[in-house]
Symmetry: C2
Subunit: 518 residues, 2 copies
């Protein structure tokens, strides 16, 4: 057969994943109009399509959070320095990268500009929250009196700021959006249960709505959240083989409770310290979405989190057929909007924008709308609807692939296609991820594999270790760092390891993943 090689296709993006993955990532964000630089250092503007994805994530995740009995609240943006001085490890971990408010007024500088008014210097500087453990801890110490008040389960959706020297949109920005769950419990068992419940919520959310396979597990001691007793994460593999930490859940022990005075009277009348947890996911998930599902034509958004699942583009030619096409497109939009997929009404966009038809089509391809329907007068006359699946854009010959669906069958076809796109994106990512995980039993294998050209190295190593601590762990971390590697996590569902620790030779206790990461 004379089938042209795929690379002969002229793709929509100016750069391919293979040629330059980092440049490709920026190109997807720009061309899909997800976000852009704001002119404010390290802060991005999230554009409607990007924010729409975040709204979908919020809607679905918030329902899960509420279903778990967690109540949303809102806590202050500003945290007084004194709050931060309470928990030593926490300070140590965050003090180095926080935005500090020192003045509450501006004044003219006499040269037409503005400067902070020296008369309006704050007595105590305020920190823009990098996370809210301390201020929520102070509230919990007021709210919790007795065992009857436990568990106390709170969450907030908010912006937080961590000063970053090197920023990358969605992955590492000075300001980002997230949810932070904060809970207080009577004992360790209950708090650990909540920590793992949140972790499992994140795993199911990543693998469900986001169609992004992840490994849920415990971070090693050196990667713990500042002040935490145990930190868990979900780790996803990007198409360049790097790992992305996509969500974390922390068991904080009684350290934060002690610092904030979160105590309760137990059933016997004794004062006890609470055990607390915190857990969060952020707009970073959108970075993960891009690097999991994007291709050389732009983004592919899984239907469950797509702001629009079906985009209808009427092909108008300023001619006598236009009215019929518009009517048919309108009726189609209405009918599809009345269908249900994933338990919600199908989200349909009828795009009547005054731009060239092919530009419009490619805009939606680049944005990654799951299904695209270009409806022309011939389709209307023939009683068919051409249905393009964004996840299978080309025929074997490298041409745009559109199924011709009978008009009467389109509603069912759309619902079925949405479910299939969702499943196919997950299956594709899962297959790629699994193929890129290499079990290794000797350190030399790790060294050989990761010594290669960074571009060629696309995957993770799965190894067993003896979970060393202290100086032994420092040594492991240093050896890994030389290869630009980190320990991602210990999967919670891994079978018991056998054999020797790849680092120390001692009997292995756990399975861990080693990877380069974002």
């Amino acid at each position: 057969m004379n089938q042209p090689a795929k690379k002969s296709i002229k793709h929509a993006l100016p750069v391919t994943r293979e040629a330059d993955f980092a440049a490709w990532y920026q190109a997807v964000i720009a061309e899909a109009e997800l976000a852009e630089e704001s002119g404010v250092r390290g802060c991005m503007v999230i554009r409607p399509w990007g924010y729409g994805i975040w709204e979908r994530i919020q809607t679905l995740m918030d329902a899960q959070i509420k279903a778990a009995g967690v109540q949303n609240c809102y806590f202050p943006l500003f945290i007084p320095l004194s709050f931060f001085e309470k928990e030593a490890a926490h300070v140590e971990g965050f003090a180095k990268e926080m935005a500090v408010v020192t003045h509450h007024r501006l004044i003219g500088d006499g040269k037409g500009g503005l400067v902070p008014d020296p008369e309006a210097k704050l007595e105590e500087p305020l920190v823009v929250r990098p996370t809210s453990e301390t201020v929520i801890g102070a509230a919990m110490s007021r709210w919790i009196q007795s065992w009857r008040d436990l568990p106390m389960l709170t969450n907030q959706w908010a912006n937080v700021v961590r000063w970053e020297m090197r920023t990358r949109m969605f992955l590492r920005t000075s300001e980002f959006l997230w949810q932070e769950g904060h809970t207080a419990h009577a004992d360790r068992t209950d708090a650990m249960e909540e920590t793992l419940r949140a972790l499992e919520m994140y795993r199911a959310f990543a693998e469900g709505p986001l169609a992004m396979p992840v490994v849920a597990g415990e971070k090693p001691e050196n990667e713990r959240f500042p002040g935490a007793v145990a930190t868990y994460s979900i780790e996803a593999m990007m198409q360049d083989g790097k790992a992305l930490q996509a969500g974390t859940s922390h068991y904080l022990g009684t350290g934060f409770a002690e610092a904030s005075g979160i105590r309760y009277q137990d059933r016997e009348g004794t004062q006890q310290l609470c055990h607390t947890t915190s857990w969060g996911v952020s707009t970073r998930l959108i970075g993960g979405l891009i690097m999991t599902h994007g291709d050389d034509d732009g983004l592919r958004v899984p239907p469950q989190v797509a702001p629009f699942q079906v985009v209808i583009l009427p092909m108008l030619r300023d001619g006598p057929d236009d009215d019929a096409v518009l009517d048919a497109a309108g009726a189609l939009a209405k009918e599809l909007g009345a269908q249900m997929a994933f338990g919600e009404p199908v989200r349909v966009k009828l795009d009547l924008g005054a731009i060239k038809a092919s530009t419009k089509r490619w805009n939606w391809v680049k944005k990654g709308a799951p299904l695209i329907i270009e409806l022309g007068p011939r389709d209307v006359a023939a009683g068919v609807v051409p249905l393009v699946r964004r996840d299978r854009l080309y025929t074997a010959e490298g041409k745009l692939s559109a199924a011709s669906v009978e008009r009467a069958a389109i509603a069912d076809a759309v619902v079925a296609a949405l479910e299939d796109v969702q499943n196919s994106l997950y299956a594709e990512a899962r297959e790629r991820r699994d193929a890129a995980i290499r079990p290794m039993t000797h350190w030399s294998e790790v060294e050989t594999y990761f010594a290669g050209d960074e571009v060629a190295v696309k995957g993770w190593a799965r190894v067993c270790w003896s979970r060393p601590t202290g100086a032994l762990l420092d040594d492991v971390v240093a050896r890994l760092k030389a290869l630009k590697l980190t320990i991602r996590n210990t999967p919670i569902d891994a079978p018991a390891p056998s054999g020797a620790c790849i680092f120390t030779g001692a009997p292995a206790l756990e399975t861990i993943y080693l990877a380069r990461s974002y």
Copy 2:
């Protein structure tokens, strides 16, 4: 008849509206667990019941915003000083009350404390957004090229900060939550249409879901948003007769477009300045809700914005009947949750908290859940459901009023009651407001009325004026200020005025409201 006077009722709050309205307001917020001081100057913690009301406001308002074709985005929290220097009137209006970030790192002070690191001083200080005209203007200047890009309709839900010396929860806090719509248009007509569309959206929202009657109208020149050509507001009357500005919509002319360079190429190929608008409502709406619907037993939340519309309290006695009561309460919660009211599933809370039954009942009374059902073993045995309406809490004899509804009829009764509570709260507020508006035709009437004891003066004056400007307006403002009055707005639907201006004696041009305000 031997009917006890209402004042013999022992109400749930420690202070009545009549005794001390300001203290009553704080008591409602505390007792209904809406919000509390955070320990951070001027910033409050919004607790689950208060935040739940805000989530309801967001959900309903966001649907309206989206239905108008407006797209949600997210813009940076921080705005560089230089952005603020562009629009002179805007600077003038806001520069005096902004939080300024000057450092990006903390460092130990050598005494166990933390201080801003002098090495980490920002070259250009950043302002925490008091509103986002400038940064959104910069984005629009990038996004808008031609008439095809117009109108550009954006909105964001965000936190903003305006440094306030005297704060009051929900009404005036340094940090507050809001939505800010920002739109760009080809001409004045289109921009004014959008300005008034937003105003009408706010009016309908206040009078619908919030059951809060408002006057929609234009603010006088001296009350305009800094840099605006025209500012419109909705004004609600609180139970102490003061006015609350509950939402604003601004036509900004071309001033902001000029400052930010928002230009488009028209159909003839000429570069034109856009006309822009902005409009917003905030968590202040919750303050309005409290002072419109609260009574001496706490808050009364209109069903459309109540986080829970029906609260079911099983009366348990650690006895053999408990299981039957729990089963009945569970079945009831399930049945009610399957009903629809206001186009949404009824929101039901089955409260199983381990606290005393009467405490629990009064907690929900104070929170203002629209319907409360205390279900005991005798009710279950008799096949009835006792239904308490929060808006009609007492019988004529001053006892708690509960309708006994046949179990089979409860679903319909609940739906009907929810709709009636919503309408009754509006009617009650409307009647009180209308009775407290006094038309006045002579300045002496205004002076006499508003010279009285502040507590006794409960209402607004409706007068006609000639819309003076410049020094004449300054004079009017000063005369009003001496009586602690301001001009609230010129209602957009007022009939043409007749007679003379109450201030100048010139022929009247407009009707305006004079009031004390929050």
